[in-house]
């Protein structure tokens, strides 16, 4: 158990560190187009050529032939560490041009291939993860917080509070959200900066998503507030707040954790729908959501499998979070409150 937790935490930390330092790890600017190399497959790394084995990894250039891309073996380009490349602001603190790795132009190193405009997919996945993971987590937090609050109040106080709050959730779940999104878009100014888009995204998704957790939580609270220890605590004069904090909250944490593992990836992918209405992160800025929307095309899915990289990244992120949630949940089980 210990080692498993340790591994998971390390993986999570590594993931977030990678995303945070995306600008350093990514060899290229995510919006830099290379119109000569659209849909290029991932660059192959070699250690061995006609002259024998080398210590340093090297790559060849891709050239476009009749049947697709071919490696141009006439010239090899070694992969260098800590190279100079395009300039960027490191963590918003200082400008630098150092990147973790790179090759000398005119060759390029695209570990995950390129997209339809020749932009490096690896760089886009890293930069995109910044926005998407942050938006997904923030939206989940909003939804779960609002949902838990409503659910607890509804379940604890019962009667009309319960009825009206639950009616509220049903209202929310039934409404035509597509129309609402259209209306929201119409009210907004035409251009919204990426930062504002991010906040907007999280608010919209969180706003729409609070209803389900609310109902789940309310169900549990309804049952648990009749437990003996709760009744006992109340008869001892404990305030509502105390009862809620000490006895009810631990009950609902399990559900909340499980919901969180489901919601984070779902909210990251929800950006695909939002982009359709113009509420997503707009081109050319990268986000996993808008990279996913190109995958809805059958021909792309079938012909350019490397474009599934954001799906892979999403899966890895979600799996790590889910496994961690499992661990946290198992920690919460023992000891159980109430005796």
């Amino acid at each position: 158990m210990r080692t498993k937790t340790a591994i998971l935490i390390a993986a999570l930390a590594a993931l977030h560190l990678a995303l945070l330092c995306a600008a350093f790890i990514a060899p290229y600017d995510p919006v830099a187009q290379n119109r000569e190399l659209p849909y290029a497959p991932p660059t192959r790394l070699h250690l061995h050529d006609a002259a024998g084995w080398h210590l340093r990894l090297f790559v060849y250039r891709w050239t476009l032939g009749d049947e697709g891309y071919l490696e141009d073996k006439s010239e090899s380009f070694p992969v260098h560490l800590l190279t100079t490349g395009s300039s960027y602001e490191f963590l918003g603190i200082f400008d630098t041009t150092r990147h973790l790795f790179g090759v000398a132009p005119p060759a390029s190193i695209a570990l995950f291939g390129t997209d339809g405009f020749g932009r490096d997919e690896f760089s886009r996945v890293l930069y995109g993860g910044q926005i998407s993971v942050a938006a997904g987590i923030a939206a989940t937090l909003i939804a779960l917080l609002a949902g838990a609050l409503c659910g607890v109040i509804a379940g604890y106080y019962g009667n009309w509070t319960d009825q009206s709050l639950m009616a509220g959730t049903e209202l929310f779940l039934s409404l035509p959200w597509l129309y609402f999104l259209l209306g929201v878009r119409a009210f907004l100014p035409l251009h919204v900066s990426p930062v504002r888009t991010f906040f907007l995204l999280t608010c919209v998704i969180g706003l729409i998503g609070w209803a389900r957790p609310a109902r789940l939580v309310r169900g549990i609270v309804l049952s648990s507030r009749t437990r003996n220890y709760v009744l006992a605590a109340r008869s001892f004069g404990a305030s509502d707040l105390h009862v809620i904090r000490e006895h009810i909250l631990p009950e609902i944490l399990g559900v909340l954790m499980t919901q969180a593992t489901v919601l984070v990836p779902r909210y990251i992918a929800a950006e695909v729908t939002l982009s359709f209405f113009g509420l997503g992160v707009n081109e050319p800025v990268a986000s996993w959501g808008n990279m996913l929307s190109t995958l809805q095309q059958y021909s792309v899915l079938v012909s350019y499998a490397w474009l599934l990289a954001p799906v892979g990244a999403l899966i890895i992120t979600s799996v790590i979070y889910a496994l961690l949630a499992d661990v946290v949940q198992s920690r919460l089980e023992f000891p159980h409150p109430g005796n």
């Binding site: 119109r35 405009f117 259209l182 982009s275 359709f276 113009g278 707009n282 050319p284 095309q297 021909s299």
Partner: protein, 590 residues
């Protein structure tokens, strides 16, 4: 499991085969004056399935507004004069011949004698009169009504005898016979009663039973399964015969399957559930192309289409609206040099390569090389040149700040947004390429995808946009349908709608030229006038033209007489000539 599945499939197919034998075509009668398609041959039998983007909404040709309904209805109905999509010329259809008066205002049409509707009822001039009365009825509000109103006055239809009709236009109208294509002739014996009762608009909805719907097209309605498919069967009374005097169509059944997006259609085509695809994107075409040796599919690249994609800048009069931010930017948009600079900076070659996978053509005017009859080949096609763009901007008073950003003459940053439809992947890609090109000039361009109707609302109604990437055209090769785009009072005069008077000399000149070509009957003279219009457009850039896709279509190996065309409906225009090859025949991979 697999065995049972294939057995089930086999049973279905066999059952389907027995059911699919359509009504036998009637032998040609001596009294019938039929159209002989002299080059056409094939054999009877078989069923063709084609996928559609959505479900048709009605069987009523007069009120149908969406493209899917019109495509299906077109197979059930026939017109007096049709435009042969292959040759782009008009040819007699229900009319066997017609005479035009010297001033081009009066058309006397001789209808074919002895023809019957798909339910056997005879067709004559009364049906024609009835049909036109319905089209022009103001209470029916047919979208096609406006075609028949020239200069605010409707054309008049008179019956000369049982098989002769005369049309009188309020004034001479060039290529007037092209108007008749798309105006389906309605069966008076079925529709007159609902029309007199005021229930015409509700007739022939999707709930209509098969004996309520009849037409003169190659097929008639067999069955509609809600949400899923429409099945048409052969019209045994169809008025065309092939080279052996056998009555067309060859197909027993034609099925429209509602499949959804183009990707879903390609998947179904690959799985063998459909036999034809009407329009393909370049990526799907390449996908199918790679497999053609294995599948034997017939793929057609017909060259550039008649559509044109463009960037339009908002030059509307915003004084009555509270759109100050946009109004300030309009001083750039109205500057011809600004638009010329943008046009010079756009890498059209990249658009053709990356958006259309080389299956497209760059455009510098509204008429592309696909329209062989009307294209003005003298218009210059300059290559992308950021240097020229910079010079133009400099001479217009723009300058650059130390970070390389573009500033206008008053020192404000040049920043604007381009809206485009989020459902159109090609235009979204064009927007991304454009944004990159213009960023090299120092312009800050933001791409704003919008849902389609939200886009239309902004461009036509609220004018709350800076620039938009849109597409128009593709309806017909003739210049007349474009009147509303280029004339000042036209409803599609997008860059400056609701303009009372032409604001610039060139717009005034275009007005005059377009009016003139509309009443000029001689093709050479019309071409000269329209050439000058194209020249003015490409010089003054109300739209900055980008590119046009090629028309790409596909059919599986068994479809015979597959001759797609660049005019809508791309593959079904000759549905009456299509046939299914027998397995023993040589499939003839193209």
């Amino acid at each position: 499991m697999k065995v049972t599945t294939s057995l089930a499939l086999l049973v279905c197919l066999l059952a389907g085969e027995c059911l699919a034998a359509g009504p036998t075509p009637q032998k040609p009668n001596p009294g019938e004056e039929l159209f002989q398609a002299a080059q056409v041959s094939g054999h009877y039998g078989g069923q063709l399935t084609i996928g559609g983007r959505a479900e048709p909404k009605t069987f009523n040709p007069v009120i149908a507004a969406d493209a899917v309904s019109r495509e299906m209805i077109g197979r059930l109905m026939a017109d007096l004069i049709e435009i042969n999509r292959g040759s782009q010329q008009t040819e007699p259809a229900l009319t066997k011949s017609w005479k035009t008066s010297a001033d081009g205002r009066v058309f006397t049409l001789q209808l074919r004698k002895g023809i019957r509707f798909s339910d056997g009822h005879p067709f004559d001039a009364d049906d024609v009169l009835f049909s036109f009365a319905v089209y022009m009825d103001e209470n029916v509000d047919s979208p096609q009504r406006d075609l028949l109103i020239i200069d605010g006055k409707p054309l008049t239809v008179t019956k000369i005898d049982q098989f002769t009709v005369r049309f009188t236009l309020p004034r001479a109208y060039a290529a007037a016979e092209r108007l008749f294509d798309g105006l389906a002739m309605l069966p008076r014996h079925l529709l007159e009663k609902p029309y007199r009762q005021g229930k015409f608009v509700q007739s022939w909805s999707l709930n209509a039973s098969t004996n309520e719907v009849a037409g003169l097209g190659p097929f008639r309605l067999k069955r509609y399964v809600p949400g899923e498919r429409v099945v048409l069967e052969r019209n045994p009374y169809y008025w065309k015969v092939d080279s052996h005097n056998d009555r067309l169509p060859y197909l027993d059944e034609l099925t429209f399957l509602f499949v959804g997006t183009e990707d879903a259609q390609v998947m179904r085509f690959e799985a063998g559930a459909t036999n034809m695809i009407s329009r393909l994107s370049a990526e799907n075409y390449s996908l199918l192309n790679r497999e053609r040796n294995r599948t034997g599919a017939q793929l057609s690249d017909l060259g550039p289409s008649l559509e044109y994609n463009f960037v339009v800048f908002n030059q509307n009069d915003l004084s009555s609206k509270k759109l100050d931010a946009i109004a300030r930017k309009q001083k750039w948009f109205r500057d011809l040099k600004f638009r010329q600079a943008i046009s010079a900076a756009i890498d059209r070659d990249a658009i053709v390569r990356l958006v259309y996978g080389t299956r497209g053509t760059a455009l510098w005017g509204n008429v592309g090389p696909g329209n062989k009859l009307w294209v003005n080949t003298a218009i210059p096609h300059p290559q992308a040149s950021p240097a020229t763009a910079r010079q133009l901007l400099k001479s217009a008073g723009f300058s650059w700040n130390p970070s390389g950003q573009l500033l206008d003459s008053s020192g404000a940053l040049v920043e604007f947004s381009i809206i485009t439809s989020s459902s159109n992947t090609q235009r979204m890609k064009m927007a991304t390429l454009l944004q990159d090109d213009l960023s090299h000039l120092g312009m800050q361009v933001h791409i704003v995808p919008l849902e389609f109707r939200a886009l239309v609302d902004r461009v036509f109604q609220s004018f709350d946009y800076d620039a938009a990437i849109m597409g128009l055209g593709g309806g017909d090769a003739d210049p007349n349908p474009e009147m509303n785009v280029w004339t000042t009072k036209g409803t599609s005069h997008l860059w400056h709608l609701n303009e009372a008077q032409p604001e610039t000399a060139w717009e005034g000149e275009i007005d005059r030229l377009m009016q003139q070509q509309m009443v000029t009957i001689d093709y050479t003279k019309r071409k000269q006038l329209y050439d000058r219009v194209q020249q003015l457009i490409s010089e003054n850039l109300p739209f900055i033209f980008l590119a046009t896709p090629n028309v790409l279509a596909a059919a599986d190996s068994r479809v015979g007489n597959f001759h797609p065309a660049i005019l809508d409906p791309y593959t079904l225009w000759n549905a009456d000539e299509l046939y299914i090859r027998r397995p023993t025949e040589n499939a003839g991979v193209r």
